[in-house]
């Protein structure tokens, strides 16, 4: 039996950004297990200082290429909060629909392109085009649907163009919007197939008591704005986000880390689901119970399944959103904006967890101070703790280097980390 083990993953693949995993086991004892974030910082928080409010959503969207819509919406919400703007229902619905499509495309991307290859024993999705064409085509179809609808509402699937403070620069064509209803209904079948596929995968059985943080839904599963909650019972107002995130710097990471009631906490699909299970679309709830997933699950690998469940949720809810929007008599796409002095916080549930943007403005609407807290940043400490626990558990079992490496990689990947975004 092999009781020494060295895992050294430099620039983990199939994640966004740059991170390293290092595990050392000697004589069956864990010496070191560390998750390092080596991404280069881009200093968005400094870049924005001195800029007028209208620059923020445009620039901040560029923090992340996967959840640019979420960043843009968080930025817009922070500004609207600061200036006392309440978006119209029409704007809110459109934003939510746009948000849902980003969630769908991101979850599909993660499930099929980043996570599935692990379960199918491939290095990437590319060989699957030959070996499992139906799987790949299904993934493409789902992703394309989500992206196409993002194009329609946001002007562009990546770094949206029409989303502005006060609303939208342009409204979607209702006829085209209506056309998406059918595609979404068809997507539900594709999601069913996806569920069937994931049913065949062996999700590692590993749990660690964790605190889960997310927005707190009131009458709907939460995505944009509202109160914050943790599964340990902490409840805060959106503007008190700092008491939720408690950022600190650590030597092993250019991203800041977070903690709340314990040494670390988790955000993301699993956290949202654990905290707001009752508000899920019935279809999504059915899928969850199919996988035996219910509140509160402490298995980080189940985040993949939580994403799948959420994919059902957003697909189902989007169909009703479209119905509502088609029946709306369009009002002006955007409201006027009057800048004023003050602070605004925008909390948005992006695919990987709760995202916060916070700006302080002077009376002319120029940014004095900017703070962005990224979900993956909040997860880093938890990834570290999971990694230690996972390594410790298998240390004495004498796992092969390669097996432990794979498991560790899968663990990190299951968080769907967005590293460059966490460093920003």
């Amino acid at each position: 039996m092999k009781i020494n083990c060295d895992v050294n993953v430099h620039h983990l693949t199939r994640v966004e950004g740059h991170g390293n995993i290092r595990i050392t086991i000697r004589d069956g004892k864990l010496i070191e297990a560390s998750w390092e974030v080596v991404e280069t910082p881009r200093f968005f928080e400094a870049i924005l200082v001195g800029k007028k409010w209208d620059n923020a959503p445009w620039i901040c969207g560029r923090i992340c290429g996967i959840c640019s819509i979420g960043h843009t919406l968080a930025s817009i919400r922070a500004i609207e909060q600061a200036f006392g703007i309440v978006p119209s229902r029409q704007t809110q619905r459109l934003r939510l629909l746009l948000k849902h499509m980003e969630t769908l495309q991101s979850h599909i991307l993660h499930l099929y392109f980043l996570a599935a290859p692990d379960f199918l024993n491939e290095g990437s999705v590319f060989p699957l085009i030959g070996s499992h064409p139906d799987v790949v085509l299904r993934a493409m179809r789902l992703k394309k649907l989500a992206n196409d609808l993002c194009d329609l509402i946001g002007g562009r699937r990546l770094h949206p163009t029409t989303t502005v403070v006060g609303g939208f620069t342009m409204l979607p064509d209702k006829k085209i919007l209506a056309g998406f209803k059918e595609r979404l209904s068809a997507a539900v079948d594709d999601l069913m197939e996806t569920a069937r596929l994931f049913k065949t995968f062996q999700i590692p059985d590993f749990s660690r008591e964790t605190e889960f943080v997310s927005l707190k839904g009131v009458d709907a599963y939460p995505f944009i704005g509202g109160d914050l909650m943790s599964s340990d019972g902490v409840l805060k107002n959106e503007s008190q986000y700092r008491q939720m995130t408690n950022e600190y710097t650590v030597p092993q990471s250019t991203s800041k880390w977070s903690r709340l009631s314990r040494g670390s906490f988790a955000v993301g699909a699993l956290a949202r689901l654990n905290n707001n299970f009752g508000l899920l679309h019935p279809m999504a709830r059915d899928i969850a119970s199919d996988f035996g997933l219910g509140p509160v699950s402490h298995n980080p690998f189940m985040n993949n399944i939580a994403q799948l469940v959420e994919a059902f949720h957003v697909a189902g809810e989007s169909i009703s959103l479209i119905d509502e929007l088609i029946d709306t008599c369009w009002e002006a796409p955007r409201q006027p904006v009057a800048p004023r002095e003050g602070r605004g916080v925008g909390a948005v549930e992006v695919p990987r967890g709760t995202l916060y943007h916070c700006y302080d403005f002077d009376e002319t609407g120029h940014i004095i101070k900017c703070d962005c807290v990224i979900p993956t940043g909040q997860n880093h400490a938890n990834i570290q703790h999971d990694l230690s626990a996972l390594s410790a558990r298998y240390a004495s079992e004498g796992m092969k280097d390669r097996d432990l490496e794979l498991l560790a990689e899968m663990l990190v990947r299951s968080y769907d980390p967005c590293i460059s975004c966490s460093v920003h």
Partner: protein, 266 residues
């Protein structure tokens, strides 16, 4: 399939390509995966040997390297040089790689202040954000923040069949008019369309949002006149500079403007 392909009898070249990223949001790479319809065809044109965002187990034996992001740290300079050394063709992918992108906005501040503002007393390494061209020779630039997938597809086809690659020399206005948009100046919105290189199919004006110049200057762009026009339409010097400096394509002109006083500057 791969070996037998040809176009007009000329064998099609299936390059071994690799994707790398420096300081960036990785959106440009993602944009490639965002081509759902055409991804299989796209992938049949190239052999992807390294694409960390989407695959495990890459090799270093590649001909074309697509590098996304700007250079902001010493280790990136090293990595970039290494990639340059291995690649026959080095492609700068997106505005960050071509101009520094939004990252270069920090260059307008004192670097120590920037670090302190974000990290307090913790030491972090970071340099001025630079485009790839400042460090190595770039063979081809693919513009945009993010890149336009249609354009990239066209470029890949041309690389494969060995046809010259051309980007439009004219400004976004050409595409904007062809798309039948109402000019944003008529709507009272600022727009850099008249001086920005086309190729995005006037993406932003199509959604009634003004152009921010992410593709950098068009050939022979009349920057001086653009400033006059922005002023005439009542936009402040700050608005003009905000747009010009956003992606780095016009950064020289923007910093030049900072020192000139415009009529209605605040």
């Amino acid at each position: 399939m791969a070996a037998a392909r040809s176009f007009l009898g000329v064998p099609v070249y299936k390059p071994r390509v690799a994707f790398f990223e420096l300081s960036s949001c990785e959106g440009c790479q993602l944009q490639l995966l965002n081509n759902e319809d055409t991804l299989p065809d796209f992938l049949s044109l190239v052999e992807v040997v390294n694409f960390r965002e989407a695959m495990t187990g890459g090799t270093d034996d590649y001909e074309i390297a697509f590098v996304e992001g700007s250079v902001t740290r010493g280790d990136e300079i090293e990595r970039l040089r290494e990639v340059r050394g291995k690649a026959k063709t080095l492609v700068a992918l997106g505005s960050c790689a071509c101009f520094g992108g939004v990252n270069q906005l920090k260059n307008r501040f004192d670097p120590d202040w920037v670090k302190k503002e974000v990290y307090g007393d913790r030491q972090v390494e970071s340099e001025r954000a630079k485009p790839l061209e400042d460090i190595v020779t770039v063979d081809l630039r693919i513009l945009g923040c993010p890149i336009n997938k249609k354009e990239v597809e066209g470029i890949m086809v041309n690389l494969a069949i060995g046809k010259e690659i051309k980007t439009p020399k004219y400004p976004v206005c050409m595409e904007c008019k062809a798309n039948g948009n109402t000019c944003l100046f008529d709507l009272g919105e600022p727009c850099l369309g008249p001086i920005t290189r086309a190729g995005c199919n006037s993406c932003c004006p199509n959604g009634r949002a003004g152009c921010w110049g992410c593709r950098g200057p068009a050939e022979d762009g009349n920057l001086a006149q653009m400033t006059v026009i922005m002023e005439r339409y009542g936009f402040s010097k700050e608005t003009i500079i905000d747009r010009l400096e956003c992606f780095g394509g016009f950064s020289d002109y923007a910093s030049q403007l900072r020192t000139i006083k415009l009529k209605n500057s605040s």
